[in-house]
């Protein structure tokens, strides 16, 4: 059992993802904007961060990921986005942002479970 932080501005996505991961026995904590997400991670030191790009926010998911790495937070980050292709975010994990995996939504429950367990090992 691990502690996983989900940071996403869509409450429905948070809820669905939470349930999927809870079914595997993980403990989930959530935040709906980068600011709260930062505090959540610093305070709770989760084993994994699932981070949305949150392009509507002024300090978006990329910014937050960079901030974590700058502050030596080494927690693995699974970053996901809804429109990587349309806005030219076509790069692999770690290429432009310091994350461990970078995927485009949608991600099926099986997929997310698989990715999470891989990053946790």
């Amino acid at each position: 059992m691990s502690l996983i932080a989900i940071i996403d501005d869509d409450p429905d996505i948070i809820e669905a993802t939470t349930l999927v991961l809870k079914s595997k026995g993980h403990k989930i904590i959530t935040a709906s904007n980068p600011e709260d997400g930062y505090e959540l991670v610093i305070l709770n030191k989760p084993d994994l961060i699932i981070l949305d790009v949150m392009m509507d926010e002024p300090d978006d998911g990329f910014f937050l990921a960079q901030k974590f790495r700058k502050e030596k937070v080494k927690t693995p980050i699974l970053m996901y986005t809804s429109v990587s292709k349309a806005i030219g975010f076509e790069f692999g994990a770690g290429e432009m942002v310091p994350v461990d995996d970078f995927v485009e939504k949608p991600i099926s429950p099986d997929e997310i479970i698989e990715k999470v367990s891989r990053l946790l090992n």
Partner: protein
């Protein structure tokens, strides 16, 4: 066609000889004139166009050499045959130097004379023809020069840049638009410019120059020229051929497509935003559905109902967004589908209120109408203006507090109908006010967190108002409320036709 008789002039002071030659040659089908001294000979020669002029060296008035000189000066194409009784090599040489065709010593036999004349006539023909050719060539060259200057003027006056490069990469021709486009100060005809060209263009050009068989199509590339700003150029290269079909060089046409690029960028940005906004609700609904579908994940009956409802809600949101997008695109193509009628704004407002009654009473909102009684009818599309009010009303309710107020106010103000829609909702922060009418902008703070919307409602309102040459403004205080103020011109020119 009857060939003209060769025209001969005989200048000789010996009467018997010149008369004899005349009658002999006339028998041989020549046209002959005679002169008995140098001056009258010159006069005749200059007045007429003789093919051959026979000049006796010893004349009573002036020297035969003088006559020859004078005639050759003004009629260089005439054939002069010099005859003399005092034949000498020196005399022959000096007369030929002065332009004589040949030299015939006296006495001469008729055959000798005929032979000389025939040779002379042949030469005369060559001279006349070559003069004709020379004249033709000059005319032709003049025409080419005119054509060239005309072409220069045309090419210089077009806004596209033109560069012509020969097969070894040297500049053959250019117009100044090309210099401007490439941001070059100067270039020289004959300069090797291949290496000076932007890389993309250089590579294409090299393909053309190094091709084993001539590249038979135009190749276009886009290049960026960085000056004060960035200029985008469309460069088209095509092979130029000699008249025999061999490769001569390449012509490059440069077009400035910066404006087009800008529009394209705006369009792409809009599409990205739309994609993002449309994908979010679909992803959320899909997430819930997949969750419910997955048998390994246990959820309660209560959760299932909740996820179901929320999926429906999100999909409805997506649909609403699609409808808003369709409205916007319909507005872009406006007038085509517009039904302009003379309507009273107050009436439209009164018709809309009942649609919102349920929501108003749910939130216990107090609605007050202050509709001016002298509002004139104006030309509008009823469904468009209804849409405008519905978007504003729905915002006024959505962002209002429970038990809040909405005031709708209309008034005639000189040439405008003034409309105010005031709410006691969450209001706007100063930094959000300017962004409010932007596509997909939604103020993000703890107060708006649970309010759904497409982010297109006010964009649509603004477009409708402006399409009637109206104006929309807003006054707002954060956490207090917002008032939208609209002016619609009475004598609006958006009347059909």
């Amino acid at each position: 066609m009857q060939e003209l008789k060769p025209k001969i002039l005989v200048i000789d002071d010996e009467k018997a000889l010149r008369e004899g030659i005349k009658s002999f040659l006339e028998n041989e089908s020549f046209y002959v004139e005679i002169a008995k001294n140098g001056l009258s000979g010159i006069e005749l020669a200059l007045k007429n166009d003789f093919d051959i002029i026979m000049i006796d060296m010893k004349l009573p008035d002036i020297e035969g050499y003088e006559v020859l000189k004078k005639i050759k000066e003004s009629k260089p194409n005439s054939i002069c045959i010099v005859s003399t009784a005092f034949a000498s090599i020196e005399a022959a040489v000096s007369s030929v130097r002065l332009g004589a065709f040949s030299y015939i010593p006296k006495p001469f036999s008729p055959d000798e004379l005929l032979f000389q004349l025939e040779q002379g006539i042949k030469q005369r023909k060559i001279l006349v023809e070559s003069e004709l050719l020379r004249n033709e060539k000059e005319e032709f060259l003049l025409e080419i020069a005119n054509e060239k200057s005309r072409l220069n003027t045309i090419i210089e006056s077009i806004s596209s840049g033109v560069l012509l490069i020969n097969k070894i990469g040297e500049l053959v021709y250019f117009n100044h638009a090309a210099l401007n486009k490439l941001n070059w100060k100067s270039i020289q005809i004959g300069e090797y410019i291949l290496e000076r060209l932007p890389d993309e263009l250089k590579n294409i050009l090299k393909d053309f120059l190094n091709a084993e068989t001539i590249i038979n199509k135009s190749i276009t590339t886009q290049i960026e020229i960085v000056t004060k700003g960035v200029m985008f150029l469309d460069a088209t290269c095509s092979a130029v051929l000699h008249s025999d079909g061999s490769f001569a060089g390449v012509v490059i046409i440069l077009k400035n497509i910066t404006g087009f690029k800008k529009n394209e960028f705006i369009k792409n940005q809009f599409i990205s935003m739309v994609a993002h906004e449309l994908k979010s609700p679909v992803l959320a609904a899909l997430g819930f559905l997949q969750l419910m579908q997955d048998e390994k994940i246990k959820i309660t009956k209560e959760q299932e109902v909740d996820f179901f409802n929320r999926s429906v809600q999100r999909l409805k949101g997506a649909l609403e967004l699609i409808n808003d997008l369709l409205d916007i695109s319909r507005m872009e193509m406006k007038k085509k589908y517009r039904e302009i009628v003379c309507v009273n704004i107050n009436k439209i407002i009164s018709n809309i209120i009942p649609i919102f009654e349920l929501e108003i009473s749910k939130k216990n909102i107090h609605l007050a109408l202050q509709l001016g009684d002298n509002i004139p009818e104006i030309n509008l599309d009823t469904s468009e203006i209804s849409r405008m009010f519905m978007n504003l009303m729905s915002n006024a309710i959505k962002y209002n507090r429970n038990g809040g107020y909405i005031n709708i106010f209309t008034k005639l103000e000189s040439n405008y109908i003034l409309i105010k829609i005031m709410d006691t909702g969450i209001g706007l922060k100063e930094e959000d006010k300017g962004l409010l009418f932007n596509e997909f902008f939604r103020a993000k703070n703890k107060l708006t967190k649970n309010i759904s919307g497409t982010g297109l409602g006010l964009t649509i309102v603004k477009r409708i108002v402006e399409s009637y040459q109206g104006k929309i403004e807003l006054e707002s205080e954060f956490e207090k409320g917002t008032t939208f103020i609209i002016w619609l011109p009475i004598n609006n020119s958006s009347k059909n036709g």
